[in-house]
Every structure is written in structure tokens, then in C-alpha cells.
């Protein structure tokens, strides 16, 4: 889930995860962006560093660079005792912090690990892994992490793992990015750049294009001549009304223009989310979002796109 800071990625990720789990998919939601945000929205206990089933078929897991690094290290080093000797060492702590992108890389590694994870009967542990990615710049660092490590790090275990991660990211049958924005100038400009970067630089397949906070139209096209007629009369006592109406119509036009610029570059189905009455998102608001998601996705074809993202 990609997008600029503050466009509502966490809320949409939670809604998406909930919807997919309701449809019987085994879903893991990985929180990179805002720890505990999804737990708050879904009204469940905050997620631990290991996936925990918080609702039927819905697992939640917080991802931090330190936590992911620890898991990766345990995987490679095999023994906890060795891990402690190595990782409690100040020098090591320091070195790990200073290797560029290592934090992002291990988090990506964790996502990859869970995406490939199998149960004892050989079936996948999760059908869908959703990553609530960090904001724009960090998201690109995060997603390019695998390629960056594969290309810059000399031969070693990290390079090998990085290449397999990059393969997953670049495989259109297994991975895609959803891009979220707001119908405003800057967020759309940034979304356009982000789309190009995710597709061309990260070489990832594009999924949904999500536009948040799309205000409902208050004045229809048919209303406009009447509004304009009254505005032209310039009756002083009606100024509060004509000003608001003209402003609303300008906002509609601006919103449509921004939506147009968003659609110019993005591909895949468009999901328009309504402006929510409150910032405090709970079950009711999630239902609204899920409604919009279902509506935008028609009967099912788009959810099939989601389904492809195992």
C-alpha cells in the first residue's frame, strides 16, 4: 500500500485486510507505516512482532527494523545464545545501524518470508500479505531495498536472499502495489511520480488506484445555471449562500481535475473513498470504506486482482 504521508494508507490497508479475510482469505497485515494504527482501527490488541490472528482469518504483525533484523539473525545464526553474544555487542549494533537500507531490507525479508511461509501440510500459511508501507520516499527505499542490496552488496548470504526477494516483487502474478492519494494538487503530483517510480524503478505491477476523501457533490451540473443566476444577481443578503455554492462548484471542478490527473498515469481499477465524518475511524467507517471498495470493484474482478497478490 503506497502513498504520501497522511493520505489514509493505514485505514485503507485495514479495510482491505478485513474485506479479504471476510471473503475467506487468510490475510496477514504487516504494519510498517504506523505501528498499532491497524489494531486501533480494527479495535483489537496491538500487534506483536510475530503474526497473531486478531480476527477470524486476519493476522496482524508489527514490523520494525530491529525486530526484523533479530528474526533474520536468528534464522541465520540458528542459536539464541549466539544471537545474544553477537547482537548485544555495541559494535555490532552500531554496524547494523550504519549499513544503508539494512533495516528496510530485513523488513522486506520478513514480508517475503511470510508470503512464502508454508503450513505443515504444505499449503501457504497466508493467502494474502498486505504491507502498509512507509510514506513515499521511505516506501521506495523499502521496496528498492532488495534490488539495492542485490546490486550493491558483494557476494554473500544477503545478496542471495535479496535476489529472491526482488524476484517476488517483480513477479506480476504474485505481487502488486496499490497507490493511494487525495484529490489535491500536491498529493496527486506525488502519486504520479510514485506510480512511475514503483512501476519503472521497483518494477512492480500496479494494482488498485485509490482516491481518498472524495467529497460528495452538493451541486449537480443541472444546478449550476441556477446557482450562477443567483450569484450574478449579487444580492447582498444572499452572499453567504452564493459564496459557498460557487466555492463548492470550484471544489468539484478542482476535484475532478485532480482525479483526471491521477487517472492519466495510474492503471487498474479506481476506488473512490468518501470523506469520512470523523478522523476517529472505527467499525462503522470501515464498513463505509469496504462498501466503496466493493462498489468500485464491481462484482469480483478486482478482488481477483487482490487475490493474485499472495
Amino acid at each position: 500500500m503506497l502513498g504520501k504521508g497522511g493520505v489514509g494508507r493505514s485505514v485503507f490497508s485495514a479495510a482491505l485486510a478485513l474485506r479479504a479475510s471476510q471473503r475467506g482469505k487468510r490475510v496477514l497485515l504487516l504494519e510498517v507505516n504506523a505501528p498499532d494504527e491497524a489494531a486501533r482501527i480494527l479495535q483489537v490488541a496491538p500487534a506483536p512482532d510475530d503474526p497473531r490472528e486478531v480476527l477470524n482469518n486476519l493476522w496482524l504483525c508489527r514490523m520494525t527494523p530491529t525486530g526484523a533484523m533479530r528474526e533474520y539473525a536468528l534464522l541465520v545464526l540458528k542459536f539464541k545464545a549466539i544471537y545474544h553474544i553477537v547482537f548485544e555487542n555495541r559494535l555490532v549494533k552500531y554496524l547494523l545501524r550504519s549499513i544503508p537500507s539494512l533495516g528496510e531490507f530485513t523488513m522486506l525479508g520478513k514480508a517475503w518470508y511470510h508470503a512464502e511461509e508454508r503450513r505443515s501440510d504444505g499449503s501457504p500459511r497466508f493467502d494474502l500479505v498486505i504491507i502498509d508501507a512507509p510514506a513515499t520516499g521511505h516506501a521506495l527505499t523499502f521496496l528498492s531495498g532488495a534490488r539495492a542490496v542485490a546490486d550493491t552488496v558483494p557476494v554473500g548470504p544477503m545478496k542471495a536472499a535479496a535476489e529472491r526477494m526482488a524476484e517476488l516483487i517483480e513477479d506480476p502474478r504474485r505481487a502488486c502495489f496499490h497507490l493511494m492519494s487525495l484529490p489535491e494538487e500536491m498529493p496527486v503530483s506525488e502519486a504520479r511520480d510514485l506510480f512511475a517510480a514503483a512501476r519503472d524503478r521497483v518494477r512492480m505491477h500496479a494494482g488498485l488506484a485509490v482516491m481518498n476523501r472524495v467529497r460528495a457533490r452538493r451541486f449537480s451540473v443541472q444546478d449550476e445555471p441556477i446557482v450562477r443566476a443567483l450569484a450574478a444577481e449579487a444580492e447582498p443578503a444572499l452572499l453567504p449562500y452564493t459564496e459557498v455554492a460557487v466555492r463548492e462548484m470550484k471544489r468539484h471542478a478542482a476535484r475532478d481535475a485532480h482525479l483526471g490527473r491521477f487517472r492519466e498515469v495510474t492503471m487498474g481499477p479506481l476506488v473512490c473513498l468518501p470523506e469520512l465524518p470523523t478522523e476517529d475511524v472505527g467499525p462503522e467507517e470501515l464498513e463505509l470504506i469496504i462498501g466503496a471498495l466493493d462498489e468500485a470493484c464491481g462484482v469480483r474482478p478486482e478482488l481477483e486482482t487482490l487475490d493474485a497478490t499472495a
Binding site: 497522511g6 533474520y72 503530483s189 453567504p240
Partner: protein, 400 residues
């Protein structure tokens, strides 16, 4: 109740003005509009922006903004029928990579190490990806600009990277320095002779179990490259530290003013308060709070007249339903404006409003800002009059 001029007084007082705030509240555009006001008031001012905002360049009438300063010409104003400022307005964008290169070129004491540093494969990622790198470079630029003697500046307006928690901007540079230079690196880089050549401890044949285990994770070659990079930075740390200290002095100076940019909504206000707390903890006062994109109150100057509207809508051929929707739209606009004023007053009460610390609602502009005229409109909106605090805009009659 602060007079409208208090914001301008705060601006006149400042030699450095730092705009802080969460992302998405119009911080970059606000920084530019504030700089424009200072130029209008006759000062030589530069706005240093962090965002790669091509739109800001357009708004300033510049072909582009890069790591080099660009002056907004008088013709750019005149073309749009605007009066040019009495002072001079210029803009510069922080390019982190280029800035790193400049700092290395300018301050690195050893030519050979400098060359190898710039060529190191990890240098590029380190210089751009290291946490705090952007904030650190903003400080280096601020130092550069504040100490420049040729064409000296009266005011530097600094647009900081968006931060959601506290003022990362203040902490990030020291964190970044600590990451480059600490006991661990000093131990690691202490010259050590093996087989006749000076090397770092890391590559000592007897290198510890710890390092070897770590090598299994990352590959030893990565560690070697990293150690080499850190060794090439040697000799620059003292300069880094001195300039960071000098910038801290500038930022704590009474002539530096921090303006918190937010929006009149719960979470941006919460963020604004966390900025306020963090700055206060450092003994730095906040110069102003700007709450952008406020809803203009339709009933600010004119009382409601629902029956007249209903009658007129029907008279020009509109429906009853349209009149109803129209009334609702205006009512919800009025309610939003009222709510935003209450939020502003609550914020003002929390931070202790005074003339020196205006808390101002900046009404949303009807248009996007894409040229100097739009920026001029925003400037006028910020520095225009604000309704008095704690009072409704007009003692209008209440709707039954």
C-alpha cells in the same frame, strides 16, 4: 487579543524563520508566502525548501529550483500585474546528495581520501539514506546561508522536512553525527598494522567471533566497504560537530523564530502541540501557529437568510430540493468554520496566547496556488486580519 500586525512584527524581528509541521498542511507554500511578505516589507530574503517542489518553482515564477539560489525577478511580478517587492526574494531547494558532495568537497582535509570517498559505492546510499541526513544537510545549508558575507541575507525562511513526531529536525543531525562518529567507529578505525600495512581492526586476521558471525549475515565484504567508508570520513567529524554546534546557537538565538504550520483539524493540531512541547523543552519559543485551509465562515459578515434563498431559488426556476441542499451546504460550512474557531481557541488557550505568539486561522483559498498571483493571495490571507479570539465573527441572530 493580538492585533493583526503581531504576525508581521514577529516576522520583522526574525533573522531565521523555521517552518515546522506535519506533511500535507501546505508548509512549503506557506514558507514561500511568508518569505514573500518579508520581501514586500523590504528585506533581502531566501526561502530554503526541502521538498522537490516543482510546483513551488512555478508558483515563484522560476523555471526550476535547485541547489543553487535563484532570485525571483521583478518582471515575474510585473507580468502578472503585481507590484514587485521592495526587498529581494530568492529560493533554493535542498538536494541532499549534491549537498553532501559540496560539504565533502569544501571541508574534506585530504584530497586522496576525498576522492576515494566520493567514489565509494556505499557513499551514495549512505549520504541519501542515512536517517537524519536530510535534516543534517538542511542545517549545513542554513549555516552556509547564515554566515555568508557576499550579498548578506536579512532573513532565511527554512521549510523543514515533514515530521509527524516531535521536532525530528532538531534531533536528527546529532543522531546522524553519532551514527558516523562514536566509540565503536573509533575503536574500529584505530590504525592497526597487519602484515606491514595499516588497516582497520575489522580485517585483522584474528578478528573476533562476533565480527565473523556478523559477517555470516551481511557478507564480510560489506563490512569491509563500510569500514573503508567510515575511515574516509575521518578528519571531517570535527568540522561536522563545530558547524552543528554553530547552527544550534543560531536556532536558539532570540532572532530565530519557529512557526508551526498545521490545519484546524484534530490530528494536525495534536502534532502542532507536540512540536510546541518539544520546542518548549529546549527553551525555544514558538513564534506563531498557522492553521491553514480554514473554512471561511459564510455568516462572518452577513446573517443567515434561508427564506429569501428559498424564494429566489424557486423564482429562477430551481426546485425545492435544490434550495434544501443549498441551505444544508451553507449550514455545514458555517458549522465547520465554527468548529475550527473553537479548535483555534483551544490551541491558543493551551499554548498561552500572547501578542508574541499569534495563533491564526488561514482561510482556504478558492484556487490552487500555481503562480505568483496565487502565492500573493496566500500571503494576503496569512497576514490579513483574523477574527478576534474567543468571539463569534458577527453577533448574528441565531437560526431557530
Amino acid at each position: 487579543m493580538p492585533p493583526p500586525e503581531s504576525l508581521s512584527l514577529e516576522l520583522d524581528r526574525a533573522k531565521v524563520l523555521v517552518c515546522v509541521g506535519a506533511g500535507g498542511v501546505g508548509k512549503t507554500t506557506t514558507s514561500a508566502a511568508v518569505a514573500m511578505e518579508a520581501a514586500r516589507r523590504g528585506r533581502r530574503v531566501i526561502v530554503l525548501t526541502i521538498d522537490p517542489a516543482r510546483r513551488l518553482a512555478a508558483a515563484l515564477g522560476l523555471p526550476e529550483i535547485g541547489n543553487q539560489e535563484r532570485v525571483v525577478s521583478n518582471e515575474s511580478f510585473e507580468r502578472l500585474g503585481l507590484e514587485p517587492p521592495r526587498g529581494v526574494l530568492s529560493a533554493m531547494m535542498l538536494d541532499v546528495k549534491t549537498s553532501w558532495d559540496e560539504v565533502v568537497m569544501k571541508y574534506h582535509p585530504e584530497p586522496e581520501a576525498k576522492r576515494r570517498l566520493l567514489e565509494n559505492r556505499l557513499y551514495f546510499t549512505l549520504s541519501t539514506a542515512l536517517a537524519g541526513s536530510q535534516e543534517y544537510m538542511a542545517m549545513e545549508k542554513l549555516y552556509d546561508l547564515a554566515t555568508r558575507t557576499e550579498d548578506p541575507l536579512d532573513l532565511i525562511v527554512l521549510d523543514t522536512p515533514p515530521a509527524s513526531q516531535a521536532v525530528d529536525f532538531l534531533d536528527a543531525p546529532s543522531k546522524m553525527l553519532a551514527a558516523l562518529d562514536n566509540d565503536a567507529t573509533r575503536w574500529l578505525l584505530e590504525p592497526y598494522t597487519t602484515a606491514g600495512r595499516v588497516t582497520s581492526r575489522l580485517f585483522d586476521a584474528g578478528s573476533s567471533f562476533v565480527i565473523r558471525s556478523l559477517g555470516r549475515l551481511t557478507g564480510t565484504a560489506t563490512l569491509e566497504e563500510l569500514a573503508e567508508l567510515l575511515s574516509q570520513f575521518q578528519g571531517m567529524y570535527e568540522g561536522f560537530r563545530q558547524r552543528a554546534k554553530a547552527v544550534r546557537v543560531i536556532l536558539s538565538d532570540p532572532s530565530t523564530s519557529f512557526w508551526v504550520v498545521a490545519a484546524p483539524h484534530p490530528s494536525p493540531i495534536e502534532t502542532a502541540l507536540s512540536f510546541y512541547d518539544r520546542l518548549s523543552a529546549d527553551g525555544i519559543p514558538v513564534g506563531a501557529f498557522l492553521l491553514n485551509r480554514a473554512e471561511p465562515d459564510p455568516f462572518e459578515h452577513t446573517p443567515p437568510a434561508p427564506e429569501l434563498l428559498r424564494a429566489r431559488v424557486l423564482a429562477v426556476g430551481g426546485s425545492e430540493a435544490l434550495a434544501e441542499r443549498w441551505l444544508q451546504a451553507v449550514q455545514s460550512s458555517h458549522m465547520a468554520a465554527t468548529l475550527e474557531r473553537e479548535r483555534r481557541d483551544q490551541l491558543a488557550a493551551k499554548v498561552g496566547i500572547s501578542e508574541a505568539r499569534p495563533v491564526r486561522l488561514v482561510p482556504e483559498l478558492p484556487v490552487d496556488i500555481h503562480d505568483l498571483a496565487g502565492l500573493e493571495a496566500l500571503r494576503a490571507s496569512i497576514f490579513g486580519a483574523d477574527p478576534p479570539f474567543g468571539e463569534p465573527p458577527v453577533p448574528a441572530f441565531r437560526e431557530s
